[in-house]
Symmetry: C2
Subunit: 253 residues, 2 copies
């Protein structure tokens, strides 16, 4: 069951927008998708209409108290997509796990403990840091999908991330692959975006996915309606781009 | 000596772009500005051409080993602006400070220890988290400047941040004020941006600064040249907006 970690410690690179809309596009093709929200901001959870409750701590209990993953999964308004909800407690995850055994593989253990998973894909939305949430996601993943905005400030993050991927491969997950580098919020009208895309291709070759996600305000609007882009505006470029991406990633499986 | 913490745990909200270009605009008016880079990504440091070195850990040594602030300050290519450089070690700051006394006020102590500071402003660039780096910045600041992109996904972060500001005010810094909510990457062509701005004004009133920073690709280009927007493209809207912001914030002092 392919688990994809959507990562980049650079903030605002398009991680949450990709998890929700790629997940929904895979579901349109008939796949069953689980979204795991590891971000203390809870953008993915709130997009899917699932706010935190007083009593249960969602994915936090799975990582810190080794509760079963299935016990925190809930349905969402996006057909074919289920969610393991965030908790604002995740802001203290690094300290909570600091002296715990197996702190880097809690999510992987929870996934492998599932007797009959029932999902075709697990997409993990990561926070904009390289702390224990992102480490757990990378240790559990078959592949990392790196989202990047085509701006020079974003290039630095990709180089730093590569070192982290290498470290996780050496210590926790030797088979961690790369699904690709996904350029988000691409504005083809600007020379700058084209130059940055060219320098990513020069440096990372065909790891840079041929599909880019174009800047499209519909993608910024749809979270308020707790819908994926395919429900909200199925004929816009945002929907087209994420459906193309889903086709591409599904082929690689 | 006014210290302003530029904060928002939502990634990509415009924190680094604001610290560098606001700082440079204040310097154009004759002020001496210190930029403190608390982000393990080091975007502000790399923008200013100051990469980390093998031997010294920049601001990390100030927060964790209580080294003097002045000992880590270096010049930058932007006239009137000096820098306390980041360190990639900052990624582990929460764990490093977890059991240390006064962990929330290390930066404030370092600033108050300065005999003759010599700066008119200290601008602190925060990472996209609500961990110990942001707590230290808020505990040291007279005012918090909250950067926001005018997208619905960003609204949630502002509400969460407000709770953190309240907690810091109660426990660490009773006089923490708000410099304002600064809308960044504003694209007036979209209805969505106008709607989000209106809902921010409805909720936060005149805390929303009248100056907005318009989307302008020049702002995304200038980091590659280690220049502020005022050096790179002094007649573009990005430079105009940040100079207007500087005038506005300087008046409030
Ligand atoms: N292709 C796109 N076109 C227009 N807006 C987009 C696009 N992709 C993302 N956005 C918007 O850009 C902002 C950043 O995207 P998003 O929040 O998904 O990034 P992120 O990497 O998850 O951020 P964080 O680091 O805070 O978790 C959001 O306001 C989102 O609505
Ligand atoms: N007004 C603007 N017009 C165009 N691009 C902008 C503008 N402000 C910021 N950007 C670009 O948007 C991206 C996010 O901005 P920036 O990195 O300053 O935000 P941040 O809050 O510091 O991000 P992080 O959460 O990763 O620290 C960057 O690629 C930057 O170049
Ligand atoms: Mg996100
Ligand atoms: Mg930044």
């Amino acid at each position: 069951m392919p688990t994809i970690a959507v990562v980049n410690q650079k903030g605002g690179s398009g991680k949450t927008t990709t998890v929700i809309n790629l997940g929904a596009a895979l579901a349109l093709e008939g796949a069953k998708v689980l979204v795991v929200d590891l971000d203390p901001q809870g953008s993915a959870s709130s997009w899917l209409g699932c706010e935190e409750t007083e009593s249960d701590r969602g994915i936090w209990d799975v990582l810190v108290n080794q509760k079963s993953l299935r016990s925190v999964v809930e349905p969402t308004p996006v057909k074919g997509v289920e969610l393991a909800r965030f908790s604002s407690f995740l802001v203290g995850l690094d300290v909570a796990l600091a002296s715990q055994p197996g702190k880097g593989t809690r999510l992987r253990d929870a996934i492998s403990d599932l007797t009959d998973p029932g999902w075709d894909y697990i997409l993990v939305d990561c926070p904009p840091t390289l702390g224990m949430a992102t480490i757990n996601a990378l240790a559990a993943a078959e592949r990392a999908l790196v989202t990047v905005e085509a701006h020079v400030l974003a290039l630095r993050g990709v180089a730093q991330l590569w070192q982290t991927l290498e470290t996780v491969r050496e210590r926790l997950n030797p088979s961690l692959g790369i699904a690709g580098i996904l350029i988000c919020r691409f504005d083809a009208r600007t020379r700058h975006a084209k130059e940055i895309r060219a320098s990513l291709v020069e440096r990372f070759g065909n790891l840079v996915l041929p599909t880019v996600i174009r800047e499209n305000v519909r993608l910024a609007e749809c979270p308020s309606f707790h819908q994926s882009i395919h429900q909200y505006a199925p004929r816009c470029t945002g929907s087209e781009d994420y459906r193309k991406l889903a086709e591409q990633l599904a082929q690689k499986d």
